[in-house]
Amino acid sequence: MTTPLPPTDPSTRDDKLPGEAELAALYRQLPQNEPGPELDAAVLRAAAQALEGADDEPRVERRKGPREPGDWVHPKPLSGTSVEQFRSIESVVRTRRRRSPSWLIALGSAASLVLVAGLAWHMRESSPPRSAPVAQEEAAAVRTSAATDQASPAVAPLAAPPAPAVSPEPVARSAPPSADRQIAMRASAAKKLKQNDALQFAQRKAAARSVVTPPPIAELAATAPPAPPPPPAPPAPLQEVSANAVSGVADQAAAAPSAAKPMPAAASVATDEAARDKGTAQQPGDTPAQELDKIRRLFDQGQRDQALPRLRAFRQAHPQWPLPPALQAQLQEP
């Protein structure tokens, strides 16, 4: 509203134009018009009213152009607001306050649900799936192990060590174990797997010495000092092996539950076992000669408990197929 200050240096002030003094003198003699008294009264009254109403009324200043900085309508003071008006204003404010959180809460809940679902999906993807046959096999193995413990004390030294480690697992599976417990269990399982590997190596050596008739594991365990658990079934082909394991091999199944769990520490050992068993696993497309070869390799590896049922099944399926003498001898053994 204010204008910039013109230069006030006297040296810069303009001089009078030619003949200006004469014109100015004549101009001053023109009629000196004055505003009327009504006009004066109106202006002074407006000035007084502006001062009187400054405290009561909101000052709405005229604006011809767009809004300028500082050109605000001042809020009405609370003293000039009635109780009803104040209540209505407060209710509107409350309604606005209530509305905004409701959709915010809904949005937040939806976002949380999406986040939780995503995390759950991610965790489910990261952990290896436990198939139903494996669980059944593990349960059966536990039952079989317990039955074996009660029935034959001769097998007890072999079956006893895994039992304490195995028996709490079904309980633990029913409820998800805590993270610390999982870590401890994985560490113990890895330790056990290493021991089993060492035992299996010893078994293979013994099997190599007696090619045709490897000693049963129970005998081996009886002669062996303080009883490390038998070699576990590898995790990967568990589903394939489970068909044979469930068929009634107690010691093999007793070791299976501990190996069925994911054990990242023993991953390399498990991979070796899997690769080894893939060569002897029964495949649907195998020819009789391939099946016989696999059975023979099982006997060579000392896995008589797996090889013998497969050999009997082969004999039933192919009664005319000539068996090698070694396999024939295995078949005739009790």
Binding site: V43, L44, A47, L51
Partner: protein, 184 residues
């Protein structure tokens, strides 16, 4: 004049703080000057009254925002000039020459005038008045601001919103025309 020590600006600031007497003093000092400027620019007494009241109304409304960056009289004339320009843009017909002459002649002559040379002086004033009325609007405005208010070129430029050289050129043309009329 420094606006910071302008007594009119001090009065305006005092009025903004609630001093009504300050406004009354301010109004008494500038009412005649403003009214004559408007009347001789518009040549319409009714329109002059309207714009006179509107100008002071603007001053009253802007009291809280007023900052003494210029002379109060310059600011006041700037408001009046802007209102006048707005009125002209709305194509409000101005009073005719005869009506304006009657309006300007209604005001009593100064008492100091003597009867013996009253006629010649009256003729000279009348000629000057007609010559001012016949000037183009821009030249008339700068002449009135110069002769009536004795504003400098810079102050006139500030009031009219034009450059100093433009004001000087318009003033030179206007003075030449007025001298020609008076010498005839």
């Amino acid at each position: 004049m420094d606006a910071a020590v302008d007594p009119d600006a001090m009065l305006m600031l005092a009025y903004a703080r609630g001093d009504l007497a300050a406004f009354e003093a301010l109004y008494a000092k500038h009412r005649s000057m403003l009214y004559r400027f408007l009347l001789r620019s518009l040549r319409d007494p009714h329109r002059t009254d309207e714009l006179f009241q509107e100008t002071w109304s603007r001053v009253i409304s802007a009291r809280a925002r007023y900052q003494p960056q210029a002379k109060f009289s310059t600011w006041l004339l700037q408001i009046a000039h802007n209102l006048m320009i707005d009125g002209l843009r709305r194509q409000r017909p101005m009073a005719g020459g005869d009506e304006a002459e009657v309006a300007l002649a209604q005001v009593a002559s100064p008492d100091r005038e003597q009867p013996d040379h009253a006629l010649s002086e009256f003729e000279r004033r009348r000629n000057l008045q007609r010559a001012i009325e016949q000037l183009p609007r821009e030249q008339r405005t700068v002449v009135l601001l110069r002769l009536e208010q004795e504003l400098s070129l810079e102050e006139i430029a500030a009031v009219t919103g034009t450059g100093r050289e433009t004001v000087k050129s318009r003033l030179r043309y206007a003075m030449t025309r007025l001298r020609e009329v008076l010498s005839e």
